[in-house]
Amino acid sequence: MSPELIHAAADNRWAAIAPEISLGCLALFLLVLEVFLPKKKHVIIPTLAIVGQIGLLIGFLWNLRDASFVAHETFNGLLRHTQEGQFMRVFFMLSSILVSILGVIALAKQKMPKIEFFHIVMVVSAAMMLLTQSNHFVLFFVALETVTVGFYILVSYFRSSPLSLEAGLKYLITGALSSGILLFGIVLLYGVAGNPTLPGSSAESMNFNALRVFLEANPENFLASVGIVFVLAGVAFKIGAVPFQIWIPDVYQGAPTPVTAFLAVASKAAGFGVLLILTQRVFPSYSDLTTPVLSAMAIATILFGNLAALTQHNVKRLIGLSGVSHAGYLLIAVIAANTQPLAIGAVYFYLFAYLLASFAVFGVMTHIAGPNDADQDLEHYTGLAKTHPFLGAVLAIGIGSLAGIPPLAGFMGKLFIFIAAFKAGLYTLLAVAIIGVVVSIYYYFGWIKAAYFETWSAPVLDGETDTRPTRTPVGLMAGVTLASLAAATIVLGFYQGALGQWLLTK
């Protein structure tokens, strides 16, 4: 082997991706256990998955002090480890744990294979962790497709339900379409940037650094522009920005509730992590193009999401559409990040608050859901606060945070975005965001209203059965999880401490 090759191989510093590797290994280990463990003892596997992940998370947090990889590139420039990357790693590990916990509850209601679920969730999480640290389109695409394919499976996981499968199909086709568009964009960028006749071209034109250099040298290249917008389209699909948001309600409704949560939180966060990398590190010289594109998307996204959610009764669709609007708010921050570094911290903070609140809400939803996972109506929540005060309180806190009500974490996220947007002078976007927030109050409030205000419900006559599904009692693990999510949402609203300090001084 030539010295360069040896060098290149030596640059694969596996230690830098220890969290991903260990997560993958844990996933494999679960499969191995399934094979070797007697059938009766399979019940411990989900617990093992959760405990293992928690252990990994703690271990990772413990090792965070060792920042030797931060601000370095490994794997020949395929990966670039940043502080934000570390944050996203924690984020995805956390969401993986939470999805696993919700999965335990949801899967218990369905007669479905279990171990595969945890396995796929973990692999997808690991892929997302890599995705948000990628520094090269090849890795980017591969990681992204791993995530996407994983989600195809997860969305249609409740295969006995035609709705789950239909959602899977819809996600499959729209997802593949968006992958196709994204790929075409990547190809164009690769081709243009590798063109030796153009200034700044590079042999490694799929590397983000090289691409950035090229784009700076060629500010108004048409093919590059098309490439950029197509890449953005692919990302827009992930984050659910208009006009690539249309799949969201259907897929969210059909998917198993934990998967919906995973899609809503982790997939969206991955999209934003990637979007920030792209706009900050790769496309900054094309901000004249990306800013109007993203601005138009943000406006449409906020308005569409909120308006469409306004009269929605199926809570899964509702939260999906509200999630669309959240993507809009986040897009504002992404735009603001072009001039205001503060906005980057705002995005991450918002995502984190969104994670806490969303999982709190999805956790409650998982408990409310009946055997038909796709049918979760607002009506099912009547009297929740009376019969299940704990779930009611968690729901209220979660929704409150999503609605951006002080003193909850979600409000802080919105506040940071508003401040950043204000500093960046994005007044129109700000106005739209305000309108969106106001409209959103209506449907969030409607949900709270269903759970708290209306104690009346239709009497169940003889010969009829109560259409409302029985609510699952809250188990210990779920209880602790939901309580901590709610508590974290409150605490983070009051006291951001080191996290706020760290995110906002970037």
Partner: protein, 628 residues
């Protein structure tokens, strides 16, 4: 003890009394009555001692400072205040003592005496105030105490309505008063009475608007046309209250206030003319109304109105061209009209309080019968009441030698000198006064008792009689200014006194007026159970009744038909347009758009792919620069 200190104690004692009654003596009526009466005695003692020891002083304390606005509270104790505090103290004490008997069996005695104490506090505040803001503060408080006292028999709808009406009508007057004070504050940079006087006399121009706005307050409180409507209704309160508040003191506060700001009027003659005409019209109008009344208290109420009109008119008549010689050492006000008004205020306080208390005694004796046509023959059954009431009647109709004669003469003289039409009006009013008072007197005290109540009438206890005697003495002697020594010289010295031929003329007019009125009444009214005027000249009677009703009718029409309907219209508009069309409409539109957006999720994959195509096309357009 310094004079300041006495003044402060005098002022605050009734407040303390009211507070103690409200907090601790709610159920101890007798204790409350005793406390309140003792306080009244203290006030009388304090007020008289201050007045007659010749203590004259002023002093202020800063009460509220915000920015460049400072509100001071202060005492200005000059001759005018001394006179007023004496009147308030004496009449107040009399009424308290009378109340001890009159309200003896009332269940809510504590509330009643508490109210009286608050009233005394508020009234003293007006009297002692050295600036307009302070006057306003106590002005409002006086209105409030009047409100609770009128509303004493709150289970009666009429009492509740009357108290409300009194307060609101007074507020209308205060609306102007407050604006006047504020205007004054900005015009002179101060609302201190002495400083205003200095400024005005120093040549600062006065817009007629300012005194006129201030006069609004007096119109409300002293019940001048057109804000007089509350006073007759206020007779719903207990009779001693009518005596004290609605005859002797509170309603006179308007006159007192006018005298306080007299320099402003002096500098704005137009305003003075307005005041004069308002007073004259009130005097005439009320006298006409009094003729048709059958309720003993209503007659007295209209008489009070009429007399207040007299005082206001007197004030408005302004100065005499020939200034009398005299001491001007403690001069705080300068014109004859004001002095005449104050003089009449004083005498009127005595005889009208006397008559009200007398009527209270009658009512008490007749077991709360107030219709004069159901009385009769009380002269024999209630001797003391009869004698004292007679003195009161004589005083008001201007029997020479009694208090009313002097003060009324002074006013008529002034009018004769200054303005003939007003003189004629006032003289005619005097005729009417004599007429209706005689009518009252005859119907109540003579003939045979015309009802069970009247036939079982009896004199009340000592506490009812004593105040009558005291007030009767004052009504008889109160007109001799010399009796007061020289403590009120600043006021008394300005009273217009006719000399020479004028003196003769006015004397003749005065006596003629009295004889004419009383004579007609004697001819017309025999003690009977029906109104003779109504029988003999129904047209005239109806006209007079209509005159009386017209104002009430107009106000009722305004309140029920204009104000209420307008309010409901505005509410309706708000409900329909603001809450309905705009707000709900907006919500509806947003909701519809929402439904539309929701309906875009048709569930068909093809539609979704079109979205992607559309998105890609838009992005393409952006990339190509076609959208920038």
């Amino acid at each position: 003890m310094s004079a300041h200190c006495i003044a402060l104690i005098t002022l605050l004692a009734p407040l303390a009394s009211a507070a103690i009654i409200a907090l601790f003596l709610r159920r101890q009526g007798t204790l409350a009555a005793t406390l309140s009466t003792l306080t009244a005695a203290l006030i009388a003692a304090g007020g008289l001692s201050l007045a007659f020891t010749g203590a004259r002083f002023d002093g202020t304390v800063d009460w509220l400072t915000l920015g460049n606005f400072t509100l001071l509270l202060g005492i200005k104790f000059d001759d005018l205040a001394a006179l007023m505090i004496s009147v308030v103290g004496v009449v107040g004490l009399c009424v308290h003592v009378f109340s001890l008997g009159y309200m003896h069996d009332d269940a809510a005695k504590a509330r009643y005496f508490g109210g009286l104490s608050i009233f005394m506090f508020s009234m003293l505040g007006i009297v002692l105030a050295d600036n307009l803001f302070m006057i306003f503060i106590f002005w409002e408080l006086v209105g409030f105490s009047s409100y609770i006292l009128i509303n004493h028999y709150y289970e009666r709808q009429s009492a509740a309505d009357a108290s409300k009406k009194a307060f609101i009508v007074n507020r209308v007057g205060d609306f102007g008063f407050l604006l006047g004070i504020i205007a004054c504050y900005y015009a002179f940079g101060t609302v201190n009475l002495a400083e205003i006087t200095d400024k005005v006399q120093g040549g600062t121009a006065v817009a007629a608007m300012i005194p006129l706005l201030l006069f609004c307050g007096a119109v409300g409180k002293s019940a001048q046309v057109p804000l007089h409507v509350w006073l007759p209704d206020a007779m719903e309160g207990p009779t001693p209250v009518s005596a004290l508040i609605h005859a002797a003191t509170m309603v006179a506060a308007g006159i007192f206030m006018l005298c306080r700001i007299e320099p402003l009027f002096a500098a704005a003659p137009v305003a003075l003319t307005v005041v004069m005409w308002v007073g004259a019209i009130t005097a005439l109008y009320a006298a006409l109304c009094a003729i048709t009344q059958s309720d003993i208290k209503k007659v007295l109420a209209y008489s009070t109105l009429s007399q207040l009109g007299y005082m206001v008119a007197a004030f408005g008549l302004g100065r005499l061209d020939i200034l009398p010689e005299g001491e001007t050492g403690k001069l705080t006000f300068i014109t004859a009209g004001a002095a005449a008004a104050m003089f009449h205020l004083t005498t009127h306080a005595f005889f009208k309080a006397l008559m009200f208390l007398g009527s209270g005694s009658v009512i008490h004796g007749c077991h709360h019968e107030q219709d004069i046509f159901k009385m009769g023959g009380l002269a024999k059954k209630m001797k003391w009441t009869f004698i004292t009431f007679t003195i009161g009647v004589l005083a008001i109709i201007g029997m020479p030698g009694l208090a009313g004669f002097f003060s009324k003469d002074a006013i008529l003289y002034l009018a004769m000198e200054n303005n003939t039409p007003v003189f004629i009006i006032l003289a005619f009013s005097a005729v009417l006064t004599a007429f209706y008072m005689t009518r009252l007197w005859r119907l109540v005290f003579f003939g045979a008792p015309r009802s069970d109540a009247a036939s079982h009438a009896h004199e009340g206890g000592f506490s009812l009689v004593l105040p009558l005697i005291v007030l009767a003495i004052l009504s008889a002697a109160g007109g001799y200014t010399a009796l007061y020594g020289n403590v009120f010289d600043a006021v008394w010295s300005q009273i217009p006194v006719a000399h020479g031929s004028a003196h003769t003329t006015i004397l003749i007019v005065s006596v003629a007026v009295m004889v004419l009125g009383a004579g007609f009444a004697f001819l017309l009214y025999k003690p009977a159970s029906t109104d003779a005027l109504a029988a003999k000249s129904p047209g005239l009677f109806a006209l007079l009744a209509l005159l009386k009703e017209s104002f009430d009718a107009a106000y009722n029409w305004y309140v029920a038909k204009v104000q209420q309907r307008f309010a409901m219209l505005v509410e309706f508009l708000e409900r329909i347009f603001l809450s309905g069309l705009i707000i709900r409409g907006l919500a509806g539109v947003v909701g519809l758009v929402g439904l539309g957006a929701r309906a875009l999720h048709v569930g068909s994959l093809h539609a979704y792919v079109y979205w992607f195509l559309f998105g890609a096309a838009i992005l393409w357009a952006f990339a190509g620069g076609w959208l920038n």
